[in-house]
């Protein structure tokens, strides 16, 4: 086969023209990069000066420095420049709530709220080319395909300002053709927490599970609805009866988050308890284990006084996540709970369940800790003992164990320490004693030597006293150092 040899002159001329184009293109790209840097630095300085000139600084606004003359000057600014000056201030609203009120007033007077609301409805205020070129992003106003950026920013601004009256427009924006606008509108609605928007958000949730990829993510919707107060929980009832398990689970999760945030004993708990009792009972026997797990957690958070049958149902569930979820929720509750019902789970076959039970017992206060000590002394399971010590350590209870050491010869703490010393598992105790706060305790324990504590503990305390610094832990710990090994 003879391959064609392309004409050399053709190739040469083609290569020359491509080379020339590429070289020019490279130089042009390099020039654009340099010009952009120069322009950006210059623009930054200009904006800084403008902000100072118009008093558009957080401190200036909080002191109410903007006068009618200042307002008139601001009104005279081109719309893109005005927005550019205001937007960084809006971003500071979440960290400085009083600023939101001041800015809301200023934006209303300048007509910006109206501009943003109209933009969300697709009505853009005309901007001349000259006005647009006053800021780097001004040309966005002329590219309709990029208008979604302006709409999304408008939605964000209304949310940042907590402009309550904008909720209908923001709700409408949940069906915007662009995903970004929908997403930002959702976050703004979560910030407004307007009760009337909940049905629309639940409708979006329905859409999220039925029309895959079409709308908002289920996570965003859950996160937004979880921002609402518990007083809006009634509106979740239809979602709890939804045929799709993801929606049922999400509704229970939202309820859990609402309950978590509400102060314990708030009227909302009593108001809705009877309503949700039945719903949660139904969800606690749901076919989907994830729904059962979340329902158990939600029930634990709602029944803050005494674990209800729903929570107990969660305890007895065959699926590990359900048991874990119920116990974890109990551990997070501020009210003491009967440890009797938790203790059996310390011997659960699943580690995560045991861990959750340990934490739930610790949350029960003094009584729960005593049960933990009893279990520690009773069990033959080395793994469980280690888990108990680990949890005591994480909860910062090792020092209190030592503080009560030797108060009476037969007290639980003394027995636990004795057991730990017998096992040679004193690393964590030693660390607690050699910390700054533990040193005083060690001194007082050494003073009490041979008064109450058993000889084994005395010997161990003397060994601890020989430690010089916590960094020598590897030299001082019992047995050969694992690190050295």
């Amino acid at each position: 086969m003879v391959l064609p040899i392309p004409s050399l002159s053709l190739l040469t001329s083609l290569a020359s023209s491509v080379l020339a184009t590429v070289t020019l293109g490279t130089l042009a790209v390099a020039a654009v990069a340099m010009v952009r840097r120069w322009h950006h630095d210059r623009f930054d300085r200009r904006v800084k000066n403008l902000r100072l000139y118009y008093g558009l600084t957080p401190s200036g606004l909080l002191q109410g420095k903007y006068s009618p003359q200042c307002l008139a000057r601001l009104r005279a600014l081109p719309l893109p420049t005005l927005e550019f000056l205001l937007e960084p201030l809006l971003l500071k609203c979440s960290s400085a709530p009083p600023l939101a009120g001041v800015l809301q007033g200023l934006c209303l007077e300048l007509g910006m709220i109206d501009v943003w609301q109209r933009r969300l409805l697709g009505q853009f205020t005309p901007v001349s080319l000259r006005e647009a070129l006053t800021i780097p992003e001004g040309l966005l106003h002329f590219v309709s395909r990029l208008h979604f950026l302006l709409r999304a920013r408008s939605a964000r601004n209304l949310g940042l300002l907590r402009h309550q009256a904008s909720w209908p427009i923001l709700t409408q924006a949940l069906d915007d053709p662009h995903a970004d606008v929908r997403q930002v509108a959702l976050r703004s609605l979560a910030a407004l927490r307007e009760a009337s928007t909940v049905p629309a958000l639940l409708g979006q949730m329905d859409k999220a599970v039925s029309e895959n990829r079409a709308g908002l993510s289920l996570y965003s919707l859950r996160a937004a609805l979880a921002e609402f107060p518990l007083s809006q929980a009634m509106q979740l009832l239809p979602a709890m009866r939804h045929p799709h398990p993801q929606v049922r689970g999400a509704a229970a999760e939202i309820l859990r988050e609402m309950a978590k945030r509400e102060p314990v004993g708030a009227p909302a708990f009593f108001q809705f308890k009877s309503v949700f009792d039945g719903e949660l009972a139904r969800l606690a026997s749901d076919a989907d284990p994830r729904v059962r797990a979340i329902a158990a957690e939600a029930a634990a958070h709602l029944d803050f006084a005494v674990p209800s049958p729903r929570v107990r149902q969660g305890f007895e569930d065959a699926r590990r996540p359900v048991r874990t979820g119920a116990l974890q929720a109990l551990a997070e509750q501020p009210r003491p709970l009967p440890p009797d019902q938790i203790q059996p789970f310390l011997t659960d076959a699943q580690r995560t369940v045991r861990q959750a039970a340990l934490r739930a017992l610790l949350a029960c206060g003094r009584e729960g800790v005593s049960r933990l000590y009893e279990q520690f002394l009773k069990t033959e399971d080395k793994g469980l003992r280690n888990e108990i010590v680990e949890e005591l350590e994480h909860a910062g209870l090792l020092l209190s164990l030592l503080q009560n050491l030797g108060d009476s010869p037969g007290n639980l703490e003394t027995k636990v320490v004795q057991q730990l010393v017998s096992m040679g598992a004193t690393r964590h105790l030693q660390e607690a004693l050699t910390n700054t706060s533990g040193r005083h305790l060690l001194e007082s324990l050494l003073e009490k030597l041979e008064t109450h504590s058993p000889p084994k503990i005395d010997a161990w305390l003397e060994l601890c006293a020989g430690l010089k610094a916590p960094r020598e832990w590897n030299k001082a710990s019992h047995g050969p150092s694992k690190l050295a090994a």
């Binding site: 491509v18 490279t26 390099a30 990069a33 120069w38 999220a208 690190l483």
Partner: protein, 490 residues
């Protein structure tokens, strides 16, 4: 011409046409990727104005993440890496450092810096790994766990971390990387806000050389001093801002840097974790997940965003750079061979039809073509097949086009993130972008050819790159209130 037989002449012509096709296809695709990236990165940087990171940070529904740091003989930087991981701005996370049988003082340094104590943990591996010898923790940093295990290689160390991971997502972080504070939030953002189920979210890697760090964070970004390192800065910009971003837009991502990537735990467990079949376990896992997703979960997505950043130290010597590039090339060839069944298969979509074939032709075979080109094009010239003018033009065109792509990547950086604040840095970057194709490209090509030779002889050695150690001064470990009081994710 008389000295050449007709077959030799035809072979040379054929080869010249092959080089031309390689040149046109490679540069054409890269130009396309650059144009797409330009638009996407520009849009992404504009979108960041309304990105809901604050909401993600504040929400109790944001899923917990485990940061897995596999380490082997990383005594120079490991403390800073862990410090940066602990300082990450994320609501619930834990850090698992897996010391893969280091023979230096990696473990000792960690123990000293974080005041670690031996911990008793029950380790029941689901993914098979070499045995874990011991565990270390500090009650005051409850979300840090250090595992000391027998040497088993990086994939094995990662799998140990995955076995210990109790969170729905985990983030791989190389032991020589410094994670930016918001990186994890930025990686999680596309996962949570996409209506699709995203199983991998990748970020970009930048070069730390020349920057100044303190307490696990970069405090001043600067350019390195040597030309070798500066060329790598330009190369990383081109690779991450142009290449990976473009492939992600096309839905053809096959490489997400293992230095910084967030994975769905469940999906990775399904495919059996990281595999030791190749020396680039990150690329291998991504292609395996692609394969699995196509066969089982068509809706699983792969995200890449250009603002989650981790900083890594690039090799400062020729020998270390050679090791790194040899390994990358060897890994690429191994991954392509392992997943050859996906090539040209419609079932695997863009990956099977375009991305993998492109990587095979341009990135793997193209290396040989380019290398031979440097030998055979001059031969064609001496044989009278190419005129002197055409030869010079062709060489200049190759250099100019390469320069164009690199300068374009610098422009992308300038238009978006502008991480190098000094105007002088921009000028230096532009100069190095233009010069990158004169000498540096050929050097890298030489290293890559060595990688291919290693592949051909069946080598499977993971070559360790030893770093110089950068200016990352570390003070005493400061426990933030979050670190001291939370039991995040564990």
């Amino acid at each position: 011409m008389d000295m050449w037989g007709p077959y030799c002449e035809q072979a040379l012509v054929f080869f010249n046409l092959l080089i031309l096709s390689y040149f046109v296809l490679g540069n054409g695709v890269y130009t396309g990727l650059m144009v797409m990236s330009l638009r996407a990165i520009w849009l992404h940087s504009r979108r960041s104005a309304y990105q809901g990171l604050a909401e993600l940070r504040a929400s109790s529904l944001t899923p917990a993440v485990t940061i897995i740091v596999p380490a082997w003989n990383e005594e120079r930087i490991i403390v800073e890496t862990v410090r940066s991981a602990l300082a990450v701005d994320y609501p619930r996370f834990s850090v698992i450092v897996v010391d893969d049988g280091s023979t230096d003082s990696t473990l000792k340094r960690l123990a000293t810096a974080f005041r670690l104590l031996p911990a008793e943990l029950e380790y029941h591996p689901v993914l098979p790994t070499s045995p874990a010898r011991s565990f270390y923790s500090n009650p005051h940093i409850p979300h840090l766990l250090v595992v000391h295990k027998e040497r088993g290689g990086k994939p094995d160390a990662l799998n140990t971390g995955i076995n210990l991971c109790r969170t729905p997502y985990f983030c791989c972080l190389d032991a020589d990387c410094i994670l930016e504070r918001e990186a994890l939030l930025r990686l999680m953002d596309p996962i949570l806000n996409s209506p699709r189920e995203i199983i991998v979210s990748g970020g970009i890697v930048r070069i730390i050389n020349g920057s100044i760090g303190s307490n696990g964070q970069i405090v001043k970004v600067g350019l390195p001093r040597t030309a070798l390192e500066r060329f790598q800065v330009v190369e990383y910009l081109r690779s991450f801002l142009t290449g990976r971003n473009g492939w992600s837009l096309l839905g053809g991502t096959v490489i997400v840097s293992g230095a910084l990537a967030l994975f769905q735990h469940k999906a990775v467990m399904e495919v059996g974790g990281f595999s030791a079949d190749t020396v680039t376990e990150d690329m291998d896992l991504i292609i395996t997940l692609r394969h699995w997703a196509a066969n089982n979960r068509a809706d699983a997505g792969f995200a890449f965003t250009s603002d989650p950043v981790c900083w890594t130290e690039c090799p400062a010597t020729f020998s270390m750079l050679n090791r790194q590039r040899r390994r990358w090339q060897l890994g690429l060839c191994q991954s392509l061979r392992k997943h050859r069944a996906m090539l040209f298969r419609r079932r695997y979509g863009m990956v099977g039809l375009f991305s993998l074939p492109f990587h095979l032709y341009v990135e793997a075979l193209g290396t040989i073509v380019e290398f031979l080109g440097y030998l055979l094009v001059p031969l064609s010239f001496f044989g009278g097949l190419i005129s002197p003018a055409l030869l010079i033009l062709f060489i200049l065109l190759g250099l100019a086009y390469g320069g164009f792509l690199s300068v374009g990547a610098v422009l992308l950086e300038e238009m978006t993130y502008r991480r190098y604040p000094r105007p002088r840095d921009l000028l230096v970057l532009l100069a190095y972008a233009m010069l990158e194709n004169v000498g540096y490209r050929q050097l890298i090509l030489f290293f890559r050819v060595q990688g291919i030779l290693k592949f051909l002889v069946g080598s499977h050695r993971w070559e360790k790159v030893i770093h110089e150690g950068q200016n990352l001064s570390s003070g005493p470990t400061e426990l933030t209130p979050a670190a001291a009081h939370s039991n995040q994710g564990r």
